[in-house]
Symmetry: C2
């Protein structure tokens, strides 16, 4: 607590515009800018969906489940747990609601009858598409000035931000997918 210089407060500290604290000499080059941009970008990105979900009485948890079930039809419950990194008890409640309200259906596995393969209904697909449309609008707007090569750079960056060890089934699919041409 020694080197914080507010013991002798700056004159009119609260009338100056807010400024990011300059990096002290000893501090390694930290990516403050990208760290904060990620925070705000993600906040507004999920905000799009959050707002719409309210009208359905759903939360983020429901969205995540529906999204991945819709995108990867036939996902097992265990797969979903891996992807979402939550416990089956947590998933249980949310999944039950989505089943009861007809957004998702279960189907017993053919090979292994213990499995409950998950599929989105048309109702579920419609909602997921609606949410994805909102988010796509934001992404398109953000990519606008950046060009095709830029979009690819963004994709490469995001991919590289993801842990590669012990990838779940969905991530494996994503990593193996060819980078789209746009």
């Amino acid at each position: 607590m020694a080197d914080i210089n507010f013991s002798n407060p700056l004159p009119s500290a609260d009338s100056r515009p807010t400024q990011a604290r300059p990096a002290p000499a000893g501090e390694a080059n930290l990516r403050w800018d990208i760290i904060e941009l990620l925070f705000f970008a993600y906040r507004d990105f999920v905000g799009d969906a959050d707002h719409e979900l309210e009208a359905f009485g759903f939360g983020r948890a429901h969205h995540r489940v529906m999204h991945f079930v819709c995108r990867y039809p036939g996902l097992k419950v265990a797969d979903l747990l891996d992807v979402l990194r939550i416990t089956k008890q947590s998933l249980g409640r949310v999944l039950k609601q989505l089943l009861d309200e007809g957004y998702i259906v279960q189907k017993t596995g053919n090979n292994d009858r213990r499995q409950r393969l998950l599929y989105a209904t048309a109702k579920g697909e419609a909602l997921v598409a609606k949410l994805a449309t909102l988010q796509t609008r934001r992404i398109d707007r953000a990519l606008e000035g950046i060009g095709l090569a830029g979009a690819d750079t963004v994709r490469r960056f995001l991919r590289a931000m993801i842990d590669r060890e012990d990838p779940d089934k969905v991530l494996e699919t994503i990593f193996n997918a060819p980078n789209p041409k746009e």
Copy 2:
């Protein structure tokens, strides 16, 4: 629920590798790839900090508060509420812990003595720096193959993902900041 083709299940549906559902004809071009990459990238990005925070008995909420107080010293409580988009009651609980445990201090405003300007202590700064270091490591790794121009593209993309209307004090600072040269 008519056009989902699992009424006549595909042979050995659960032995095939997981595949992303191909986009139906009627569906607009949705950015499924970037939507999912953002999900996983952010999940792992905040995971770095989450893991470390456990050792301190703190959660994500504490991190967010400490981070912005540390980065924008002298932030008012009201500013923080704008940035985090939570209620003062929610902030209150978390902030009280951080004050009690000596990660943050308050200082009465000079111009307006109602205000409580927030500052991180050395202890607080150390923790924030530690967490930022972890996240910076991940970002650096992700930017590695992308080059300087690529890093700038990523920054531009993330900036453009953020809502511009009604920016809070911190966001204004970020938007007005010159793009760093790397």
